[in-house]
């Protein structure tokens, strides 16, 4: 039986995988696209199709998130629009770079290697922070935080002190060189165009640490940026015929539902309790891509199967842990309420 031009089994697989990454994204607020693109690589899709699907997925997810938070938090539209300029150039160059590598027959290999280090690095960072400190470290993604309370990091203060004209005044009452804004936009665009990710995990820290944008404004402006970079990136890849709707549409159908389950679970389960598994899952993703590349290089068929089992198994385990913990929390809550009916 064929649906959307592919077998029903594949459609169900993509809806199921979408459900998993949607649950993870909804719960942890990240990890949608940087698990999707490597998973598609592991499944044997070419780097252009994997990145194209990643970008289209990022675009749709950001649109849904924007509709959910209609006011977009606190967006600095001037900063967002200026960054789009740098992002668009970065996207185009990232895509051309991947196209060029693919023409040389190196696209899948280079993308695979980059993902091995990216997933491994972020995974180890998250795991180490989860082990070290319950507070995690990194940036608090709380959009409700008071803008005035946010401290400007030292690096950002140094960057803000460079007066390379033209200077731009931004929301929050500070000025910064236009070139720095374009540079941050360009760098995240380059990553998006090359890796098929939204780039939020780079842009958020860059906005905060490099430009000194207060966290609540960084969160809103990041989302605003992802809608545009995802949309422009999808369009650029679609122009090359690299957007496969048979992959994107079922993935999205699953992930939009998963995102609701994941975000509903955040009020029931402490993220810190599960974060270590999330970190280990990313490390698993890294090992999976490495195994697939090795299998391909040396013609070891079993490594390909192993890599698929690792990446899907890790996602199933962590998404399962989120859902099971949420169900247990709800049941415990009900038992406690019955035990103390006076409240």
């Amino acid at each position: 039986v064929e649906v959307l031009g592919m077998s029903l089994v594949m459609v169900v697989t993509f809806v199921g995988f979408g459900l998993l990454i949607g649950t993870l994204f909804g719960f942890f607020g990240m990890g949608g696209s940087f698990l999707l693109t490597p998973a598609l690589l592991v499944m044997g899709y070419g780097s252009d199709q994997a990145v194209g699907a990643g970008l289209a997925f990022v675009f749709a997810t950001a649109v849904i998130a924007t509709m959910k938070h209609r006011d977009l938090g606190q967006v600095d539209y001037k900063l967002g629009v200026l960054m789009i300029g740098g992002t668009t150039v970065g996207l185009e160059i990232g895509k051309e770079l991947l196209n060029h590598l693919q023409e040389m027959g190196l696209g899948d290999l280079v993308l695979g290697i980059v993902y091995v280090f990216l997933l491994g690095g972020i995974g180890l960072f998250v795991t180490r922070n989860a082990l070290k400190d319950a507070d995690g470290g990194g940036i608090d993604h709380d959009a409700d935080q008071d803008v005035e309370d946010a401290e400007i990091p030292e690096i950002a203060q140094a960057i803000q002190s460079y007066h390379v004209p033209p200077m731009v005044s931004l929301k929050g009452g500070y000025t910064i060189s236009l070139w720095m804004i374009l540079l941050v936009g360009f760098a995240t665009g380059l990553l998006s165009g090359f890796l098929g990710v939204g780039g939020g995990f780079i842009r958020m820290p860059a906005l905060f640490y490099l430009l000194g944008v207060p966290v609540p404004i960084a969160v809103g402006t990041d989302l605003f940026e992802i809608v545009f970079s995802g949309g422009i990136g999808s369009f650029l890849y679609a122009l090359d015929g690299s957007i496969n709707l048979s992959i994107v549409m079922p993935l999205l159908a699953g992930s939009a539902l998963g995102a609701r389950i994941g975000s509903a679970s955040t009020s029931l389960v402490d993220e810190e309790d599960i974060k270590i598994y999330f970190g280990l899952m990313l490390v698993g993703g890294s090992i999976s891509v490495a195994a697939q590349q090795l299998g391909k290089a040396y013609g070891i068929e079993i490594l390909n199967t192993v890599s698929i089992v690792i990446i899907f198994g890790a996602a199933i385990l962590v998404a399962g842990a989120v859902v099971v913990s949420a169900v247990e929390a709800l049941r415990e809550e009900a038992v406690e309420e019955r035990a103390s009916p006076a409240d």
Binding site: I64, F235, A238, L245
Partner: protein
């Protein structure tokens, strides 16, 4: 698929991105409606009520 096979170039690319956007909006409305209809029922079922 969806009658866009015959389109070419930027028109086809725009149509594809437009379809992804349309699906996102439909899913937002559809799952939003389902959530408000069934979330309480599902929560009660899990809580054993």
């Amino acid at each position: 698929m969806f009658g866009i096979e015959n389109l070419t170039g930027p028109t086809k690319a725009l149509a594809q991105v437009g379809l992804v956007l349309l699906e996102a909006v439909i899913l937002y409305v559809l799952y939003g409606g389902l959530s408000s209809l069934f979330s309480e029922w599902i929560t009660d079922a899990i809580r054993g009520e």
